[in-house]
């Protein structure tokens, strides 16, 4: 029982970070029909901006702000303007060439970090540190609880933003039907840009939270990117809470599998889940079948 | 000597609480050119899709040459001798006009194996060239279909529907978006084809003039039901039809 609780809580803590990456991925997918194969690298990179800022003498809080700003600019603005936008002008925005381009972008980010920062993993300062709590025999760190709280907070905040603000509703309209949104006077291009910026910010947050655990390494994105896709699809890609649920589910399932079923095949479980969901419930666990652009 | 190609009997179809088609029956004889008209929302498209087997009617049956088409896959319906065109442009843009036409006929020639090991053109080049010439696309034979003008693509679309030598061709708004010169050309070709091959047509169309001059018989739908049926002249002077269009 203790063991189960331990595994469950650890899974939720890790899953909450997967969820952050998955939410951003979902937003960009909805708004721009862009499947970002570099999403994992988007989570890997901001931590290095923090390290660079700190190496140049900034204290951690300032370094985080600088890193966030740079990430939002590079991974949000530049990504949209320099890669996605010119490609969508060709009229094949969601197509194969964009998939390939984001894959190449993933290689580019990974190799650049390796070449200009270093191939070895670096220690990375935790954003939130504290002791551990003993909950019914399971040991949970304050950090874990904070991660969960932050993810939930982001989901709630983002949902409120999308549903309650004018900009948020305009963004939703853009995602659902850009042509109609355009007629209604929404600057769809700007709204799409906003989703890219939000994605970059969420990826940065995920990066700041997960890197203390993963250690800063150029290859961190390989696994995270895959998990973000799986979480987004499993949860239901047209729902922000779907991505949260997907992330948490994958985190818990992964840990439970490794503990009770098989360590050798633990990586297979999310994949089998993915295949099953796509084939039998393509709208995802929490998704609705409307507004889907398969 | 008359022979029923398409028979629609007591078709009803509703979506939720809305009755899109109500108890519609008609038959189409070999060689007829039947027009199916009606104001927007009159149930034309729903009826059309029932005939194509794409929608399952709640009641009634559609038979082509005596065979029920309910739930039939589009490719099997085509094998049964039903050709069709689409409202939107529906050619294969990155293939040549010739390849478009051959593709339209090849599935009716030989077996899977003979299509793999036999002649690359499935022995259809001659026939395809005749079809291309018939629709006056000869000078475009080796161009990519996507590079053709809108009207030319409409002609190509029609040519593809005829390539397999169907008994029945369903034309879904063939005149939509085509300019006058091209429209006259299209109409004349369709009439010639009908005269030469005795192929049956069912046409859904908004362009009244086009329907009136092309069809031998017209059925008018309003609110899901048949309100009038007859020759173009009869329809033209039918007060119910005029009401449906003006009042609707």
């Amino acid at each position: 029982m203790e063991q189960f609780l331990q595994v469950l809580l650890s899974g939720l803590a890790t899953g909450s970070i997967y969820a952050l990456a998955a939410i951003g991925f979902t937003l960009v997918w909805q708004a721009a029909q862009t499947v970002n194969f570099a999403q994992g690298e988007f989570v890997m990179l901001p931590a290095f901006f923090v390290l660079i800022a700190m190496n140049s003498g900034l204290p951690l809080p300032l370094a985080l702000i600088v890193a966030l700003a740079v990430s939002v600019f590079v991974l949000g603005f530049l990504f949209k303007k320099a890669i996605v936008e010119p490609m969508q002008k060709h009229g094949n925005g969601g197509g194969l060439s964009l998939i390939i381009a984001t894959m190449a972008l993933a290689i580019f980010l990974k190799e650049s970090v390796k070449e200009f920062y270093g191939a070895e993993a670096q220690p990375y300062p935790p954003l939130i540190s504290g002791g551990t709590w003993n909950i019914g025999g399971a040991i949970v760190s304050v950090t874990d609880i904070a991660h969960l709280a932050i993810s939930l907070g982001v989901v709630v905040g983002l949902t409120l933003f999308l549903n309650r603000t004018r900009t948020g509703r305009a963004m939703q309209a853009t995602a659902q039907n850009p042509a109609v949104a355009e007629i209604l006077g929404v600057d769809t291009n700007r709204m799409v840009l906003y989703t890219f910026l939000i994605n970059a910010a969420l990826a940065s947050l995920a990066s700041f939270l997960i890197t203390p655990v993963y250690l800063a390494k150029f290859s961190n994105g390989e696994y995270l990117g895959l998990i973000a896709f799986i979480a987004a699809i499993v949860g239901g890609f047209n729902q922000i809470r779907g991505a949260l649920a997907g992330g948490l589910l994958i985190g818990v399932l992964d840990n439970i599998t490794a503990t009770y079923i098989t360590a050798e095949y633990r990586a297979a479980i999310p994949l089998v889940l993915l295949i099953g969901i796509i084939l039998f419930r393509p709208q995802g666990l929490l998704g609705t079948s409307e507004g889907r652009t398969v | 000597m008359s022979q029923t190609v398409l028979s629609v009997s007591h078709i009803s179809k509703s979506f939720g609480g809305i009755h899109a088609v109500r108890d519609v029956s008609f038959e189409v004889q070999k060689g007829e050119v039947l027009g199916l008209i009606g104001p927007n929302g009159s149930g034309k498209s729903t009826l059309f899709n029932c005939v194509l087997g794409q929608l399952q009617p709640n009641a009634g049956a559609v038979t082509v040459k005596g065979q029920s088409v309910s739930g039939m896959r589009a490719c099997d319906l085509n094998k049964l001798g039903v050709g069709r065109t689409f409202q939107q442009l529906s050619v294969f843009p990155e293939m040549t006009v010739l390849d478009n036409i051959i593709l339209a006929g090849q599935e009716h020639h030989g077996t899977m194996l003979s299509r793999l090991f036999g002649a690359p053109d499935a022995g259809l080049t001659g026939e395809a060239d005749r079809m291309i010439e018939f629709f006056r696309l000869g000078h475009l034979r080796d161009e990519m279909a996507g590079s053709l003008s809108y009207g030319q693509q409409k002609l190509l679309d029609a040519a593809m529907a005829f390539m397999a030598g169907p008994d029945l061709v369903l034309l879904d708004e063939p005149a939509g978006g085509v300019n006058l010169t091209m429209l006259a050309n299209l109409k004349e070709r369709l009439q010639t084809y009908n005269r030469e091959h005795g192929t049956t047509f069912v046409v859904i169309e908004h362009n009244m003039e086009f329907v009136m001059s092309l069809c031998t018989r017209i059925i008018v739908l309003a609110e899901g039901a048949v309100i009038a049926e007859g020759t173009p002249e009869e329809i033209r002077s039918n007060s119910q039809v005029i009401d449906a269009y003006l009042g609707g």
């Binding site: 331990q6 595994v7 655990v213 250690l215 840990n255 | -």
Partner: protein, 381 residues
């Protein structure tokens, strides 16, 4: 239409292929093919190995080279891909390499060593998987002994020092980890110790919560942790978080400086048997460490030591053979013993047997207050 595509495709392909390779031969140099992991997952290990070897090569060249020939080193990056490494060993040999240095990852070495063997080119590897020297390949030589020699040295520690009855093993599920795991499980069986939890993980794994929870639940007295450096660090952190009481014992990697840097306080108390450590309390090691730090501005790890020793193996082996001859080199190396006093580049007294396996003394290291503390010296076996 097809015509111009044909033209395009064929001419472009032909152009790509047509450029032949023209290796240049220079006199009075000894070509070395350094085939190592400079990118991909093995980059940290491969880069250290290379830097160690380059440091040694610089020293060797400064002191007159090998039999009067200057070492000329070409680097080949395998990307940590075994098949690439095989092709690159072939390339290095095509380009006239006298010796091959590398690779570090066993999964690569097991593949590319066949190529060097066929060509009769001596290969000095940094790999530690047991099967490397079990292939009957007369051209392979180790710079650090295989896990099948290192892990048995730990048996006594588990049995006598710790008095463990039940142990758990956490290992990385690849060529490296599986080799060590198999030897360890066999050793424990022989020693009558129960393996109560046997937990593989993926290379690059980041989340060890489940692994540690299982170990905790298994009631093991001690844990054998056989993971790469970064995974070791993550494992130690998770173990510390979940307050695992059992002793964590490793072979080579667990107490490495990199692991300590990454794991921080969580590394304290970890013990490992280490064949090579830059912190060994010997004069030769201190000299090496100082030179490495001066050259690269960072601390060397055991892979850097392997690279360094590897370069000196080429020098001493060739000089012992008395000629720059690959066949003679290989024959001389088999059964050769070198004393560090006489041959300082070897750092420690070392012997090679007929399979290319080596033996030399080793150390037990414990991490205390974030520092490697060298404990007892384990004699050569």
């Amino acid at each position: 239409m097809m015509k111009r595509r044909t033209v395009l495709g064929l001419t472009a392909s032909a152009l790509m292929l047509g450029v032949a390779f023209a290796p240049a031969q220079a006199a009075d140099t000894m070509k070395i093919g350094m085939v190592v992991e400079l990118s991909g997952g093995g980059a940290p290990a491969g880069t250290n190995f290379r830097d160690g070897a380059l440091l040694a090569a610089k020293e060797i060249n400064a002191s007159g080279g090998v039999m009067g020939q200057q070492l000329e080193i070409s680097e080949y990056d395998t990307g940590t891909d075994p098949q690439t490494s095989r092709a690159l060993v072939q390339k290095a040999i095509d380009e006239g390499a006298y010796n091959i240095w590398g690779t570090v990852y066993s999964s690569s070495t097991i593949v590319n060593m066949m190529v060097a063997q066929q060509a009769g080119v001596p290969q000095i590897t940094g790999s530690e998987a047991p099967n490397i020297t079990a292939q009957g390949n007369p051209y392979i030589f180790r710079t650090s002994y295989g896990a099948q020699k290192g892990i048995p040295a730990l048996t006594a520690y588990f049995k006598d020092t710790l008095g463990a009855k039940k142990v758990a093993v956490a290992w990385v599920n690849n060529e490296f980890g599986k080799g060590g795991h198999d030897v360890f499980v066999g050793e424990m069986k022989k020693a009558g110790i129960d393996v109560v939890a046997d937990i593989p993980s993926e290379a690059g794994a980041a989340d060890f919560a489940a692994d540690v929870a299982r170990i905790k639940d298994s009631g093991a007295d001690a844990v054998f942790v056989y993971l790469h450096e970064e995974e070791s660090a993550r494992f130690l952190r998770e173990a510390s978080k979940q307050a695992v009481q059992a002793k964590l014992v490793g072979e080579v990697t667990l107490t490495g400086q990199k692991v300590i840097d990454l794991a921080g306080d969580a590394a304290n108390g970890a013990v490992a048997h280490v064949g090579l450590t830059a912190d060994a309390p010997l004069e030769t090691f201190k000299t090496f460490k100082a030179a490495f730090e001066k050259e690269y501005n960072r601390a060397p790890d055991h892979n850097a030591l392997k690279g360094y020793i590897g370069a000196y193996i080429t020098k001493y082996g060739t000089e012992k053979a008395g000629a720059v001859d690959q066949e003679k080199f290989a024959n001389t190396m088999h059964g050769l013993c070198l004393k560090a006093a006489e041959y300082p580049g070897i750092l420690m007294d070392t012997c090679w047997d007929d399979s290319g396996e080596m033996s030399r003394p080793s150390f037990m290291i414990e991490v205390k207050d974030g520092k490697q503390v060298v404990g007892e010296t384990v004699p050569a076996n």
